[in-house]
Symmetry: C2
Subunit: 299 residues, 2 copies
């Protein structure tokens, strides 16, 4: 029961990864791709990952596709959806891959149609690289993909679920606001903190940039990888998931202040108690297959 | 001009990694190891990485060794040094691998001898695992090792430098206080922040532990890896490098507060400016070989 034709709007890391996997893994017959940028379209043609491409307007393909997945930056998703919904064919499915869900769905609401299934989504998979050349078919393997259907009983939900499973993902169905709360903790705030710390290090007068680069293997380089992610995407994420982000950040600052106080007063027991409890969550992540221990050999 | 005999006190991750590399790479003839724990000694014997072992007192070997490297937790280094310095032979070298230098050197000072070279060190290499089985000979490859000699003109400095170079490291000679300031930024504060954030996530009432584990691939799992590091070692580090740690943490909180304000007031430009500048430091780390880009494929 796979989708016969797929239109991907936005041919970057995520869009081009879906394109690479859709035919070989999910049995899609025809993959079209659209992007606003001529460069991206040229690269996609060179890579040969689409059966047809459109620079700019995607109306031509949008009127024929069984499934459309919007893969543009979060701040542009609702706009693109509003543009194509009117031309989509009855019975087709519209989805996206944006890292935030609540604000996008609110902005889409006025444009919804009864005869088109709208099932927003978010694959929890990515890298710090952008653009069509950064994509690869295995990106979604063993990663979760969250679907947040507007109508929880949407008859197209099993079909879209099967599509993501074919791409290698486990699928979780969630309420959009719950998605945003959970991801604020597991993704948005970690990115904000990484961006902040790398900025702090760069600005310290007491440490040179050369020293930061040389001695980064002490832990810092993991932060720089996260903080190398696409600035536009992350600006959009923080501005669209403001409340949940600020709530988690405030809790984090409270906790950091408590550990600061423990350091200032040489309260080693408080530090040890805190540091010991965080090991358990690591163990569970490794056990769940969301990370594999490699004894540090390749990082 | 390699050292003929080496005694390693503390047979954990770092000590056992040095043991594995010392003969094959650095031309050492005899490697002895001492540890306070019977379990560790038993494992070392089973692994066959030492020519002789001592559980508890290392005086017997210490009186014969050309080089002694103390590889115990930072809070115990000065104590171990004070215990063995009196029995060391004239002309031998005492070093360590502790992650902090200033406080350890201050505590060692009363025990120094004119006829023993004391050259503390810190290999900027490690993993989140502990114990003798976690060690491996390649741990120091392409990593920096900082040496902070008590006497900058110590005639044994070139020999110890050559030892670490043979183990695969680049060697940097630094003042102990400068080491502690730089490492507060590139290592100590990143660890404190990772410990804090993982604790915050675990304590959020709005998100379950299961959700944190499932959706950790969004960035969080990198923090959990750092926050799985040895609690005792890190407690010692923060208590011993208090001033520099607190200074960097305060700057970080200031910067985070500014970004929080930008999010609250929808100031996208400030966010974008900040996020764009952190990419450059990542590029330099990758170029310097302190990290290799793998397009996210294996993490
Ligand atoms: N990167 C991750 O780790 C990750 C993970 C999960 C989900 N996501 C989500 O995936 C989406 C795409 O992210 P990405 O990492 O793939 O970004 P990307 O590599 O920058 O790709 C986005 C592409 O969309 C194009 N685009 C922008 N506005 C458009 C429009 N109005 N019409 C058509 N194309 C447009 C961009 O062109 P220009 O380059 O010319 O702007 C670019 O080629 C985002 O919503 C993000 O939240 C990302
Ligand atoms: N791990 C890293 O990433 C890293 C990186 C660079 C530098 N370092 C430094 O390396 C040193 C060792 O760290 P590690 O990761 O190798 O720790 P580890 O794996 O826990 O090993 C430390 C070993 O020292 C033993 N020990 C403790 N007190 C002792 C004493 N008084 N006499 C003899 N043995 C004693 C411990 O025995 P018990 O297990 O019975 O306590 C343990 O076997 C620390 O100073 C740390 O700052 C660590």
């Amino acid at each position: 029961m796979s989708f016969d034709s797929l239109l991907i709007i936005g041919g970057g890391l995520i869009g081009s990864s879906i394109a690479r996997a859709a035919k070989s893994r999910a049995g899609v017959s025809t993959v079209w791709m659209a992007d606003k940028s001529a460069d991206v379209i040229e690269t996609i043609e060179r890579l040969g990952i689409a059966d047809g491409v459109a620079e700019g307007s995607a109306h031509h393909f949008a009127s024929k596709a069984d499934l459309i997945i919007v893969c543009v930056p979060p701040g542009k998703i609702a706009e693109v959806a509003a543009d194509i919904l009117p031309v989509m064919k009855a019975g087709s499915v519209l989805s996206d891959v944006g890292s935030i869900k609540g604000a996008v769905i609110t902005a889409m609401r006025p444009h919804l149609r009864d005869d088109v299934s709208v099932i927003p989504g978010h694959p929890i998979a990515g890298t710090e690289f952008s653009g069509p050349e950064a994509g690869f078919a295995e990106l979604f393997d063993h990663r979760w993909c969250v679907l947040t259907p507007i109508n929880p009983d949407d008859p197209a939900l099993p079909k879209l679920t099967a599509f993501w499973e074919a791409l290698g993902s486990d699928v979780a169905i969630m309420d959009p606001d719950r998605h945003d709360t959970v991801l604020a903790t597991t993704s948005h705030v970690p990115h904000l903190i990484a961006y902040t710390l790398v900025g702090t290090a760069v600005d310290m007068e007491t440490v040179t940039g050369d020293e930061v680069v040389k001695f980064s293997a002490g832990g810092f380089r993991d932060f720089t990888r996260i903080a190398a992610s696409d600035p536009v995407m992350w600006r959009d994420v923080f501005l669209s998931n403001r409340e949940a982000t600020l709530e988690v950040v405030d809790r984090f600052i409270e906790d950091l202040t408590a550990l600061k106080r423990a350091i200032r007063w040489s309260d080693g027991e408080t530090l040890l108690d805190h540091f010991a409890k965080t090991r358990d969550i690591r163990r569970r992540i490794v056990e769940s297959g969301q990370d594999e221990p490699n004894f540090g050999r390749d990082d």
